[in-house]
């Protein structure tokens, strides 16, 4: 067992993960702050990274921060919010060109000045966040939440999840809700920030061509914030028994109909049958060899796209397809038939082998990208899994057709969402 990172906990309970490699041209820093996904705090959590990146004590405006970073040869930094099952994660990242290509030694140290300041030294006035920044970022987050409506592809998937997981934390949109935004002000957000920064689990990743000892020392000096009584984030989920699938239709002024079908897989990352589920999903809708692509798109010309994907931290599977309005029932029939074939084990050797190979390829490819390496380690931390790419490939190659048929019996259709046109 063992991943690529050397792990260590700092005295203030920040876990640092260092991977020295000369494979890449940049040095990558990612800091993740884990929080529960809960309606009461979700919108605050979502707003935080956007307010923090507006300004810190030493770089009080975004402009001053950018002027500084551009002089460091386009060192880039950003922050965002992730949803991993029912864990809400604040993400802060920085990417610095390897100083050896530039000929400037202190790039890393200088870049980290901004990085740490944004996270632990925010700009305050009268004991709270700068009001102007909070108000502006609230407005922008509101527009951001509303703009999902423009992106019909993701809109139907998100709406399907909301309907399927009604009453469960997972139904919360990663950017929160417009309604809850109204209750946030610079005071209560700043108190919330202090609570998060001192008690939420934190993982700091460093990946690149670095001197491990030097970087560790630097990180210890820079990430000085006092943290104790770190809370534990629950990552368990309760299984849901589906009695009868729910059907929801919404009408908008659109040119293409879109279907999303939500399933409970009752298996999540970390379970012993997870890789059988991964193969199941790949056969059903993971690529051009898959049943959905071959039957919905190629044989019937019903759709431009038809695929399935897993939410591996929550145990869900989503199928989505863009279709002609009049062909909804036919598409549902054909999709239903594919799912049934999976349960019955009507899987060809070509479908099975292609699915496994495609997954192996995807996992090996991930090792060529700094962000993919780090994101996959983050999933491991959240689910208590520690494995290398070779171990994953080995597990995938050991999955049998029987394993896939077994996992198929656990998968239950929960919700159908259809985006229709206005009559």
């Amino acid at each position: 067992m063992g991943n690529l990172f050397k792990q260590k906990a700092l005295e203030n309970n920040i876990n640092i993960h260092i991977y020295h490699t000369s494979k890449f041209k940049t040095i990558n820093f990612y800091l993740f702050v884990h929080q529960e996904l809960k309606k009461e705090i979700a919108t605050k959590t979502a707003l935080l990274p956007f307010v923090l990146k507006r300004g810190s004590q030493n770089f009080p405006t975004q402009r001053s921060m950018n002027l500084f970073l551009e002089n460091l040869y386009g060192t880039s930094t950003d922050s965002d919010i992730l949803k991993r099952g029912e864990v809400h994660v604040l993400e802060f990242y920085m990417e610095i060109p390897n100083p050896k290509f530039i000929g400037e030694e202190n790039l890393i140290e200088e870049g980290l000045k901004v990085f740490q300041d944004v996270v632990q030294n925010p700009l305050t006035e009268n004991g709270s966040f700068k009001k102007e920044y909070v108000d502006q970022e609230k407005e922008i987050l509101k527009r951001n939440i509303e703009s999902l409506y423009n992106d019909k592809f993701n809109y139907v998937i998100e709406r399907c999840i909301q309907e399927m997981c009604e009453g469960e934390p997972f139904s919360i949109y990663k950017y929160g809700s417009v309604e809850d935004l109204q209750t946030i002000d610079s005071n209560n957000l700043y108190s919330y920030y202090n609570e998060c920064i001192t008690t939420c689990p934190m993982d700091l990743f460093i990946l690149g061509d670095i001197d491990e000892n030097k970087i560790e020392k630097l990180i210890k000096e820079m990430f000085f914030i006092q943290r104790k009584d770190i809370k534990k984030i629950n990552t368990e989920f309760s299984e849901k028994i589906v009695e009868k699938p729910k059907y929801v239709e919404e009408k908008q002024d659109v040119n293409q109909g879109k279907l999303a079908l939500g399933f409970r897989t009752n298996t999540k990352y970390g379970n012993s049958d997870y890789y059988a589920l991964a193969v199941y999903n790949s056969i059903l809708g993971g690529g051009p060899y898959s049943k959905l692509f071959q039957n919905v798109r190629e044989k019937e010309s019903l759709a431009y796209y038809a695929f399935s994907k897993l939410e591996k931290n929550k145990g869900l599977m989503l199928i989505s397809s863009g279709i002609e309005f009049s062909k909804k029932d036919k598409a549902l029939d054909i999709i239903g038939k594919q799912v049934e074939d999976m349960e019955k084990g009507n899987i060809s050797a070509y479908e099975f082998d292609s699915a496994v190979k495609s997954l192996v390829n995807a996992f090996k490819e991930a090792a060529d990208s700094p962000s993919a390496i780090i994101q996959s380690r983050l999933d491991g931390i959240i689910n208590g899994v520690d494995e290398t790419t070779d171990e994953i490939v080995d597990k995938l190659q050991k999955v049998t057709k029987d394993d896939v048929v077994n996992v198929a019996q656990k998968i239950k259709l929960d919700t159908i969402f259809f985006l229709n046109k206005i009559d």
Binding site: E146, Y149, N255, V360, D368
Partner: protein, 427 residues
């Protein structure tokens, strides 16, 4: 500074005119290969080399052809790549069509397959008929994408006649006119080796690539050298119309401003130099470190989805500036003001030096990704530039170059705006 960033570019020119380039990165797990023809949606009128016949083909045919290339007599080539554990894809742009695969095993078989399927046209009446249904769905999908509509409408404002004003995929009507015979004519004209490039990067040695490519050519007779004659309409230097507004069912208005470049007609290093100078200029005027960006952001007119881009080709060029905004009209006025202020006051050399550093770093960052290296290499190859010269050309660019570009390119009489408004505001 090491201009090649520790990377090696190895090339070979084949007898039939094909150019092959390899960037080995042996510590990567993956091989990424692109096989690309200098043929895109704008190449709608041309002379058929064998007959000398001048033809105009239906809009969207380059894209339709791309879809049909995956058909082989034995079936679908997707299946073969799947069996080899690779993923494959293709895309058509205004100026070129690219086929690719990405794989972490069986590199040689995958490479052979890529060459084989792109070099084997196989179109039947039935398969062309079937594809119409799929492409119609694709076009409908784009009709529901406000960002894409926004750009298409801007190009329709900037250009009178140039085919860049037409959707890459064509229209629901134009794809009805596509048939087997015309597909072959387009294929035989533009998929000639001398009009193509193969770029391979990742975990593979150049010698291996060259050997596979050369073997694949021995099997067939070397095609005759064909001169491709493309015909583009004469495009006036003016814009067609100043603005276009579409009403869509969206959550918030979208705004896009474009300037038409009339300093066109050349490719190669001068084109890349012009592109970089324009990128630097846009960054100085509207980038994240500019006073203008800060002001627009604080006024709530833009957010961090605001972006700008310059697209430079031999025959045309334009920039786009915009994003989501609650007030397109006010954003338009502010941007006009920013441009005219910069025209009268000029730009600062500190900004120029800093933005140049930023570009150096961003280019280096890009080299982490085989997709970036390959896409950039292929796109610039079709413009007669070697992208490995980027850092050298960037070094050459002076403050005077950028100032000059400011005064020639940003002419407010050559700008247009495209807006997407919310449908209910129409009522």
């Amino acid at each position: 500074m090491d201009a090649y960033l520790g990377e090696r570019l190895v090339s070979k020119n084949l007898k039939d005119g094909l150019k092959v380039f390899v960037v080995p990165k042996m510590d990567y797990n993956k091989v990424f290969a692109m096989y690309s023809t200098h043929y895109g949606s704008v190449d709608n009128e041309f002379v058929v080399p064998d007959t000398g016949e001048q033809i105009k083909v239906p809009e969207g045919i380059a894209h339709f052809l791309e879809h049909k290339m995956f058909d082989m007599e034995y079936g679908n080539v997707f299946d073969k790549f799947s069996e080899l554990g690779a993923s494959t894809n293709a895309f058509t742009s205004y100026n070129y069509t690219t086929y690719l695969f990405s794989s972490t095993s069986k590199f040689e078989e995958n490479l052979k397959l890529l060459l084989e399927f792109v070099e084997t046209p196989y179109f039947t009446k039935e398969s062309v008929e079937k594809e119409r249904g799929i492409i119609a769905q694709e076009l409908e999908m784009y009709e529901d994408e406000p960002d894409w509509q926004l750009l298409l409408n801007l190009l329709k404002c900037l250009y009178h006649k140039h085919p860049v004003r037409i959707d890459i995929g064509g229209t629901l009507e134009s794809i009805q006119k596509i048939d087997v015979d015309t597909l072959y004519k387009c294929y035989n004209t533009f998929y000639h080796p001398s009009n193509m490039v193969l770029f391979v990067s990742g975990c593979i040695q150049p010698e291996t690539v060259f050997e596979i490519v050369e073997k694949s050519r021995q099997a067939k007779a070397s095609p005759l050298k064909a001169e491709i004659k493309r015909i583009y309409p004469d495009e006036p230097p003016t814009i067609y119309k100043p603005s276009h507004t579409t009403y869509l069912d969206t959550a918030e208005p979208l705004f896009l401003m474009g300037f038409k470049d009339i300093d066109v007609g050349y490719d190669g290093r001068p084109l890349l130099k012009k592109e970089i100078a324009t990128d630097i200029l846009l960054e100085i005027l509207l980038g994240r470190s500019s006073k203008s960006y800060e002001k627009l952001y604080e006024e709530g007119l833009i957010d961090d989805r605001f972006s700008f881009n310059y697209e430079g080709q031999k025959d045309y060029g334009f920039c786009t500036i915009g994003g989501e905004t609650p007030d397109p009209e006010r954003l338009h006025k502010e941007l006009e003001q920013i441009i005219s202020d910069s025209l009268s006051k000029g730009i600062s050399s500190d900004d120029f030096e800093r933005v140049k550093k930023k570009h150096i770093g961003e280019f280096i960052q890009g080299f982490n990704s085989l997709e970036f290296i390959s896409s950039a290499f292929v796109a610039y190859h079709h413009k007669n530039v070697n992208i490995f010269d980027y850092l050298n050309i960037l070094e050459e660019i002076s403050f005077e170059d950028v100032t000059k570009r400011l005064n020639t390119f940003f002419n407010l009489s050559r700008h247009a705006v495209s807006v997407v408004m919310l449908k209910e505001s129409m009522k």
